[in-house]
Symmetry: C2
Amino acid sequence: MKAAATAPQARRRLSEVIDAAAKVFARRGYHGASTQDIADVLGIRQASLYYYFDSKEAALEAVCATGVEDYAERAQLILKQPASAAEKVERLVFHHLAPLAERHDFTLVFLRERRFLPQPARRRIRAIEKRYERLIERILQQGVSSGELRADLDTRMATLALLGLGNSAALWFGREAGATLERITRSYVDLLVRAFRVMH
Amino acid sequence: MKAAATAPQARRRLSEVIDAAAKVFARRGYHGASTQDIADVLGIRQASLYYYFDSKEAALEAVCATGVEDYAERAQLILKQPASAAEKVERLVFHHLAPLAERHDFTLVFLRERRFLPQPARRRIRAIEKRYERLIERILQQGVSSGELRADLDTRMATLALLGLGNSAALWFGREAGATLERITRSYVDLLVRAFRVMH
DNA sequence: CCGGATTTCTATTGTGCTATAGAATCAGCC
DNA sequence: GGCTGATTCTATAGCACAATAGAAATCCGG
């Protein structure tokens, strides 16, 4: 980001530009998208974008950052809440999938294009991801300790499974007929809880 | 493909070229990769590639086709085999993950870059995918009918879950320390079987 | 309605890329 | 040892793209 825009109007315009970048990157991929494509969405000239960004890569980082933010914070809250392990898994899945409704493009760009970020930006983004992953794993370990989840649960693989399910849903969400957020959430929570909890 | 290469030597050389394309597309993404990059891997000139392919897009299709082929065939065999539903799920997962050992690049390119194929090629590839998906769903339905899997299982979502798990593993396989194919397979089979089967 | 700040514009530079055309080289066989 | 087809080469056309410089337009508080 170039200008330290603080005025609310400026902020809003900047977020419109980021939205446009997200839309274009999601549709065409980072390298397949041109800055001209983004400008077209906004109805401005290609060069005008450089008032908002120093580079195309900076635009990608802004989109990816929007795509990851909040995940770790929400997981942190869930970790601390007094609730059963099953409820915590449900909340994790719910909050993982919910952004698909309003920020689908950002999620897609984060998942597919973050690997093209230049090293420093990539590390910044990866740190947030890692924090989120660790929180999920701790929530599962909590469930194991309390005896609600199976003692022999491989919590690392379980974490990757939960993330894999959620992230894969992002890839076909909107193209899979009949797959509402509610149905996906219900199915996945059901699946994970059955797989994780102790028998009874 | 340009030349109808039939000599075994020519076939082998062509597959070397496709391997190189897979490697480069996997690393840099389709649009981020140049034909020069592929030529560099092979130690030949950029223009020489056009002896093997009519276009960069044709190279992508060849890689994607290699990435999907065999999946549907194997699922077809599993569907017909006399085995328990749990065993069939195990074989499905096993055969879904096994190619990661030898054809990781092809799998990655298929998963991430197939969407950039021109319409006709994309349809050809998608037809194979669809067939694979339908076979998985039929195997699950078979298990429901036989009473081995829960009667209230949402087989469509279960199919997407199985695929989502397997495909997400492809994305981090090789970078996740300690995650051998065997461990991943075991964890995922265990997870899915617990989630799908009737209580007891 | 003035003046500074914000936003968008025109114009351009330089680079990298896919793809084509046609020449040169190589391998095997008669 | 030269013919033949397969493979790789040189050279280049032609276009698209990211990014810069600096001028114009627009907006807003006083």
